[in-house]
């Protein structure tokens, strides 16, 4: 229950008026209710809606594609008789530790592949997460070999085995990984920052972060260059309101994924 308290705090501060927060500090129940913070965020509703649209689009696409690609590669990694097993595992795992950094990725993504300023930049580079792949592999390894054997005896190809045996049994892990992907993609604002120039392609998180950073930057600039700043937007309460706007949809979606965790088919049933 203590757990929920911070969350209630977030809601309450987001609907409080800026001034009361400054004077009284954070309280669990707003002293004065004001929706100013939300008003500022939604000052340009068309933009935010577009952000929602884009983000939903690339989140869904990434999750579907990513789940397919990752489970596809985790399957061979889990078969002990696969000759290239160790090599493949190391190949995947190595990418988790080493990265070339922003600059070379930028060159490849923008200059060579021309993915920048398109919706694909959100999707393609991040399709394979080594950590997730290894997780999936571990799950696959826990499934009894006998199942695969019997499928082989029936003359199934590897692909068939994958589709018809392994996948149906793996709903828990697939749902988990899919959900984690959704969360990661939904929260992504870095990609837009670096690669997107077209206003219509900004992701939701980026828009929200931008509003926040802009206000703070203008305040900072006013202090540095001595210019009068007319900006009086509520930043404290805004931070909390932003969190609400961002988190909302995903929390709604979560129970849907929840269903799949709970409904893992038991091995016993299959054997029978």
């Amino acid at each position: 229950m203590i757990y929920i308290l911070p969350f209630i705090l977030v809601i309450s501060v987001s609907i409080s008026s800026e001034n009361t927060v400054k004077v009284f500090g954070y309280t669990l129940f707003p002293k004065v209710i004001s929706l100013d913070a939300y008003k500022s965020i939604f000052a340009n509703p068309g933009q935010i809606l577009q952000g929602y649209k884009i983000t939903i689009m690339f989140t869904v696409m990434t999750t579907i594609l990513s789940t397919i690609v990752m489970t596809l590669v985790a399957y061979p990694m889990s078969r002990r008789n696969y000759k290239l097993r160790n090599l493949l595992t190391f190949y995947v795992f190595f990418t988790m530790l080493f990265s070339g950094g922003l600059v070379p990725s930028y060159i490849i993504n923008s200059k060579i592949l021309h993915l920048d300023n398109t919706i694909w930049i959100y999707i393609i580079p991040g399709l394979v997460s080594a950590w997730n792949v290894i997780l999936i592999r571990t799950f696959f390894q826990g499934l009894p070999e006998s199942l695969v054997e019997s499928a082989k005896l029936d003359g199934a190809s590897e692909l068939r085995t994958y589709f018809q045996i392994i996948m149906p049994l793996s709903t828990p892990v697939v749902a988990t990984v899919a959900f984690m992907t959704v969360v990661a993609k939904w929260n992504d604002w870095n990609t837009a920052l670096i690669y997107i120039r077209d206003q219509n392609l900004y992701s939701l998180q980026y828009l929200l972060q931008k509003i926040l950073r802009e206000t703070e930057f203008v305040k900072k600039m006013a202090a540095e260059t001595g210019m009068l700043s007319n900006v009086d937007t509520p930043t404290e309460t805004m931070k909390f309101a932003l969190a609400m706007v961002a988190a909302g949809p995903v929390l709604v979606v979560f129970p849907f994924f929840q269903k799949y965790f709970a409904e893992g088919l038991t091995i016993g049933a299959i054997k029978g």
């Binding site: 993915l115 300023n117 802009e214 930057f217 202090a223 260059t225 009068l228």
Partner: protein, 500 residues
């Protein structure tokens, strides 16, 4: 079968992606395309509309009949990083504004084009700025940027205190004279402030007390990181700002005041600005103190304030925050690029400049008279406004229309009194740009150490300030403090010797 389909799917995905080429309008026959990047509020709703109009009007000017300008406004907080990325990926840029960039480093690396040759061919541009102002764009004697003409003096700071308290308890003349006499904020200044604070405390009017500001750097000009020199010295001598007598004075008094309760216990975690000018806020804080400080304060605070000036002069440091416009070394149309800069900075292109900054008349503003307009948006445009760029980024603010937040005489104030007035002291090092390549990792270490100690020492929170100070000093030395001072001093000496 399914397997083949899957393969085809992934393959076609990759191919279609590579196939999407975004081709920018290249240089067609006779036409010149310039790309100009600058920091600002980012692209706005009417940006494209205004820029199309801009390009249309641009053709009416001589030498620009075939020129098209592709403008990109990048959010200022991301500007530096984006600039780096654009360069690395070899994107073709012609003009770049240099706010937030270290233009000295870029110039030395050959990123920008030296402009002296080109400028000497155009008298108009040269006359746009007074000689001394060109120094702001020079690196090692060569000009690399056309500085944006605007306020070149550094911020004028002063203390503030609630007026009613000041009238009752403060001996303003004494405090003011002490500060002016001493020129730097040393022990005497602090003790005189302490008298005031003591009186407040004795009368129960302490409230949130004292919060430190920029007073420690009074009388010093900052070169880089925490290294500066005393502006009143004949020959600039580099010192570490945290090793000056003034800083030590701050440590001593801050420690005293923290223990006496003149500094609030949670000072380290609060944002000072939150409590400026509040009825129960600080009784002594720092604020910018321009000529119009009264109106400024009134718009922000709920009470009347009394200022305590630090200086009775204006100071122009060698570092100009705003930067200027540079031409990239890789530009293929430097002549046209310079002409564009000329238009943005001179009387000739006044209308064009204002169009770019403010937008289209009737849609984004109303004209009041030849000099003044009424904006449809606030004077600090953000990305949610329909349009608006920062005038000190685009060009010469001398030619900008006055807007609601400008007083009628602000141009006179800015350009005559501040930039060129007799109360203005100009830095002895105008045109000097330190070269940090050899000492960069040492400076990085010094920054890290300074970050750790400055806050607690400067606010008196450390407990035993002398012990902590000694610790701090030792760590600074171990980080290469002396080598940095030596190197910077050497560069300064060389610069001054060559200037003669």
């Amino acid at each position: 079968m399914k397997k083949i389909v899957l393969l085809l799917l992934s393959a076609s995905m990759l191919i279609s992606v590579c196939g999407c080429q975004t081709t920018k309008t290249g240089n067609q026959e006779g036409k010149v395309a310039l790309k100009w990047i600058m920091p600002g509020p980012g692209e706005q709703e009417d940006s494209q509309k205004v820029w199309i109009e801009f390009n249309k009007k641009l053709k009416e000017y001589p030498e620009m009949e075939n020129v098209d300008v592709d403008i990109e406004v990048i959010p200022a907080s991301d500007y530096k990083q984006k600039f780096l990325l654009m360069q690395t990926s070899g994107e073709q840029i012609d003009l770049a504004q240099t706010y937030t960039l270290n233009f000295a480093t870029e110039s030395r690396n050959g990123v920008f084009l030296p402009l002296d040759d080109l400028i000497s061919k155009t008298i108009k541009l040269k006359n746009v700025l007074p000689d001394w102002e060109w120094d702001f764009g020079k690196v090692d004697g060569k000009t690399y940027i056309v500085p944006n003409n605007q306020m070149m003096v550094s911020a004028v700071w002063g203390f503030r205190t609630p007026k009613n308290l000041a009238d009752k308890y403060m001996d303003k003349e004494k405090i003011q004279n002490t500060i002016f006499k001493n020129k730097t904020f040393n022990k005497e200044c602090y003790s005189v402030l302490e008298e005031y604070l003591d009186t407040l405390a004795a009368n129960g009017e302490l409230r949130k007390g004292f919060v430190t500001g920029t007073q420690t750097t009074l009388g010093y000009e900052n070169i880089e990181s925490i290294y500066a020199f005393n502006i009143f010295d004949e020959h600039p001598k580099i010192v570490n700002l945290r090793q000056t007598d003034e800083f030590k004075a701050l440590c001593e008094y801050a420690d005293k005041w923290y223990k006496k309760g003149y500094i609030r216990p949670d000072i380290l975690t609060v944002t000072p600005a939150d409590d400026y000018g509040k009825a129960d806020g600080y009784t002594l804080w720092t604020e910018q103190t321009w000529k119009n400080w009264k109106e400024n304060d009134k718009s922000k605070y709920t009470m009347e304030t009394e200022p305590i000036m630090y200086a009775n002069y204006y100071y122009m440091p060698a570092k100009s925050a705003a930067g200027g416009t540079a031409i990239m070394a890789t530009s293929k149309h430097s002549k046209e690029a310079l002409r564009l800069i000329e238009l943005m900075n001179s009387e000739e292109g006044k209308e064009l400049y204002n169009l770019l900054v403010y937008g289209i008349e009737g849609e984004h503003f109303e004209k009041v008279n030849d000099e003044r307009i009424n904006l449809h948006y606030k004077s600090d445009p953000t990305s949610s406004d329909k349009y608006g760029l920062w005038r000190w980024v685009v060009g010469n603010t001398y030619y900008a229309y006055k807007v609601q937040t400008d007083t009628d005489d602000f141009k006179d104030y800015l350009f005559n009194e501040l930039n060129c007035g007799d109360k203005t002291i100009r830095s002895k090092l105008l045109g000097f740009q330190p070269d940090l390549t050899e000492i960069s990792s040492k400076i990085a270490q010094v920054n890290a150490v300074s970050g750790e100690y400055s806050g607690s020492l400067g606010n008196g929170v450390s407990g035993d300030w002398q012990k902590t100070y000694q610790e701090f000093s030792d760590k600074l030395e171990k980080s290469g403090n002396s080598e940095i001072i030596q190197e910077l001093q050497r560069q300064v000496d060389d610069f001054l010797a060559n200037k003669k």
